[in-house]
């Protein structure tokens, strides 16, 4: 991975063999894809993913996102269809807003290459937020989640944003969840 400046690129890749997506044009990108190494160089065990729209998404984020002002998030979609319309819906989580009201865009899949959507997002307070992204093509759908760290964030903010259920006991080996109990 090449460590660069200003921007971070994060890939939502669902192939077993995936590589850092093209952060090529802009030399001020920091590639933070966590996908496995390229196929011909390291052969990892593959993941077979659930059925759905044959679409992958890559998000390109400002390296440092601040709260209180709009930030541009680039979503790039690559699909494997020769024609048809792909509809993408973006829903921000609570306290995160999109500039403008439209959270839906359509893309002509007959047009070759990637489909790009630049979104302006804003949060008024530092914290961890998410964009829920849904791509639908030819009757099937695929979901994506984009984590946005606004301002100075902490692990607790992440945990507050996506709390885990249950209480850890037994030395970390059992996660006990509350049961409804009726004793007679």
């Amino acid at each position: 991975m090449t460590r660069l400046t200003k921007l971070a690129i994060s890939s939502v890749l669902i192939g077993g063999l995936a590589a850092c997506a093209a952060a090529t044009a802009d030399e001020e990108l920091a590639a933070t894809s966590v996908a496995p190494a390229p196929a011909s160089k390291t052969i990892a065990h593959v993941a077979t993913v659930k059925p759905g729209a044959s679409v992958t998404m890559t998000s390109v984020l400002p390296k440092s996102m601040t709260s209180g002002s709009y930030q541009t998030v680039r979503l790039r979609f690559d699909e494997s269809y020769v024609n048809g319309i792909m509809t993408v819906t973006v829903v921000p989580t609570a306290e995160l807003s999109l500039f403008g009201s439209a959270g839906v865009r359509t893309f002509n899949m007959a047009v070759p290459g990637s489909h790009v959507w630049d979104l302006d997002v804003k949060a008024d307070a530092d914290g961890v937020y998410f964009l829920n992204v849904f791509a639908e093509a030819q009757g099937e759908a695929r979901s994506f989640s984009v984590r946005l760290d606004m301002g100075t964030t902490t692990q607790k903010m992440f945990q507050n944003a996506v709390p885990a259920d249950g209480e850890l006991t037994d030395g970390g080996k059992i996660r006990v969840m509350e049961a409804e109990e009726i004793i007679q």
């Binding site: 729209a53 494997s80 996506v162 049961a179 004793i183």
Partner: protein, 606 residues
């Protein structure tokens, strides 16, 4: 001078209450009061006739150890300065301690099952029903968390312990199924965001009474009216039950089948973003092998995508586990849909997963919910026979054929009704599990032909209806090229005398795992020894050629250097049939600029 009348009034001594019943060795309270018209100057002191003692300071009676009912009368005496003395009595019945008796603590274990809204393909929380937690380990723990007893719930979710009364205990249920006989089963649902902790539910600590007691435990969905408001305790048990139902179907066709250990990774943090699985970045629901253990990862991200109640998704991923652990899978994974033209290995694995979900759930409509309140969704009808790209490279064609082989509803070209047994038989047939070819629909159909009760003409009718006609595990004679003339024959023959065989890696239908990206070859190695493989680009531009060589499903050679336009590697190979996939790396690297690239391939004995 008046002489005071002598004090003849005795102190008044009372116990309140005046009678007690106290268990052997235990204590009881009674308030002792001594009053006098002048003053109590001595006492009160208390003595008891038949054991036990009364503490004047604390007003507590402590019973003697008795084995039969024993009455003890405690007399309190107090005096005044004139020598008047008064008494009061406390009559205590001391009873023997109850003998701890064996009683039955039993109950029913249930979880919330959330069904689909079949109109929207989203979840229908209003239709939630309790279902039994079957075959799960149930533990009886004391207040300190020590496991006192263990059992396993039955198929109705019922459990039972025989336990001594008087103990403080709780009931815990673990989200796993562990069996060694008659079938090996080792599956568990764990939290990948918490060090793979096993999920469990438990009740409160309370004392076991002297008579039988019922303790019913329920794992609730946590859903409020419009959103999750409570702990999503049902999710792990819903996953467990879906999978156990699937195992049962396989056991029904093979009473001796064993299921090697696997884990299901689920968390409310499991999101559709690739990255650190321990942070919930699982990409999407999927199957893989991690650290040697098969794992099914399931999304749990409320409002984006949750799959714990998407039963078809769960069974689909189990289908991949089945291939991996009980059969063989050469799939390279990656994104796919029913309308894609795919690498034949991917098409077969994914079509199998889809078809299996219809078979196991007796519902050919594969549904996957997502979105706000999980209210949206899509479906795939595996009974459908019409796709935009039918053929041996089509997931849709594979699921159509496999489901039609299974089901008893005849439609279109389908006159087959074989059930699961021969399909299971083909997957586990050595002709498939050890096939020299890749695991595609061709290899499967060849093994299916070995199974009892299969009528070849019925199978052929189905494959012809899906526009392919190749035979043997290699698809010999196939005439459907899937829109790329270069892709026939399905396996190109590669001689070992250095003769160049041309081929192309094509991006017409996408990249990584799409039809045309990777070319299959069949190589007959005449004798064991060293062979040189050379892949040379014949068209202009960048093309980083790569190839992988396999024997009986085992990779025996990798040509994967980063050298552009040419790749040469030598391998020591055993005699016999080998297969190979070769491709332009740019067509399998996500995010790369794809393109059609052609090569010559040669193999030569050294």
């Amino acid at each position: 001078m008046t002489v005071p009348a002598p004090d003849t009034t005795a102190p008044v001594v009372t116990f309140s209450p005046a009678t007690l019943t106290v268990e052997s060795g235990q204590t009881g309270s009674s308030v002792l009061t001594a009053t006098d018209d002048t003053a109590v100057t001595t006492g009160p002191t208390v003595s008891c006739t038949n054991g036990g003692s009364f503490n004047v300071s604390t007003n507590v009676f402590t019973a003697a150890m008795v084995t039969v009912n024993t009455q003890s009368v405690c007399t309190a005496t107090a005096s005044d300065a004139a020598g008047n003395s008064g008494t009061g009595t406390l009559t205590v019945t001391m009873t023997p301690a109850p003998v701890a008796t064996n009683v039955v603590v039993s109950g029913k274990l249930t979880y919330d099952r959330v069904p689909f809204n079949t109109a929207t393909n989203g979840l229908n929380y209003a239709g939630t029903v309790p279902m039994p937690i079957r075959q799960a380990p149930v533990q009886l723990l004391n207040a300190a968390g020590v496991v006192l007893q263990s059992t396993v719930s039955d198929d109705n979710g019922d459990y039972s312990f025989t336990v001594l009364s008087g103990l403080d205990v709780r009931v815990r249920v673990r989200s796993e199924v562990q069996k060694t006989a008659p079938n090996l089963i080792d599956m568990k649902v764990v939290d990948n965001t918490s060090s793979d902790s096993l999920y469990a539910i438990q009740g409160a600590v309370s004392e076991v009474p002297t008579s039988n007691q019922t303790r019913n435990l329920h794992a609730a969905s946590g859903w409020g009216v419009t959103s999750y408001t409570g702990t999503r305790a049902a999710a792990p048990f819903a996953l467990l039950d879906t999978l156990y139902s699937t195992l049962e179907e396989f056991i029904a066709v093979d009473a001796t089948v064993d299921f090697p250990a696997f884990k299901v990774l689920w968390s409310t943090r499991n999101r559709a973003e690739s990255g650190n699985v321990a942070d919930g970045q699982i990409g999407t629901s999927s199957f893989t092998v991690s650290g040697g253990t098969p794992v099914i990862r399931i999304l749990g991200d409320d409002g984006n995508d949750t799959d714990e109640y998407d039963v078809h998704v769960v069974v689909h991923e189990f289908g991949h586990y089945f291939e991996n652990s009980l059969s063989r899978a050469d799939s390279i994974g990656g994104p796919h849909s029913s309308s894609n033209r795919l690498d034949a290995r991917v098409a077969f694995g994914e079509g199998w997963g889809n078809a299996l979900s219809g078979m196991i759930l007796e519902d050919p409509i594969y549904r996957d919910s997502f979105g706000a309140a999980q209210a949206s969704g899509f479906n795939i009808n595996v009974e459908n026979n019409t796709y935009t790209s039918t053929g041996w490279y089509s997931e849709g064609s594979v699921q159509s054929i496999l489901y039609d082989l299974f089901d008893s509803a005849n439609d279109g070209a389908d006159t087959a009704s074989y059930g699961l047994a021969p399909i299971y038989g083909a997957f586990t047939d050595p002709d498939y599990a050890n096939t020299e070819a890749f695991t595609t629909i061709f290899a499967f159909l060849e093994a299916l032909g070995n199974q009892a009760g299969i009528t070849t003409s019925e199978v052929t009718a189905l494959t012809n209806a899906q526009n392919f006609n190749g035979t043997t595990g290699f698809g010999n004679g196939e005439t459907n090229n899937g829109g790329i003339a270069e892709m026939l024959p399905v396996y190109k023959t590669l001689p070992t005398n250095g003769t160049a065989v041309p081929f192309c890696s094509v991006d017409n239908f996408g990249s990584y795992n799409k039809h045309g990206n990777r070319r299959y070859f069949q190589i007959e190695i005449p004798s064991a020894g060293s062979y040189e493989f050379t892949m040379t680009q014949t068209t202009a531009g960048a093309g980083d050629p790569d190839f992988l060589v396999f024997k009986d499903g085992v990779r025996v050679g990798v040509g994967g250097s980063g050298v552009d336009r040419s790749e040469t590697q030598s391998f020591t190979l055993a005699a016999g049939t080998h297969v190979m996939e070769a491709y332009a790396f740019r067509n399998v690297e996500p995010g790369a600029t794809t393109g059609d690239v052609c090569y010559n391939f040669t193999v030569e004995a050294q």
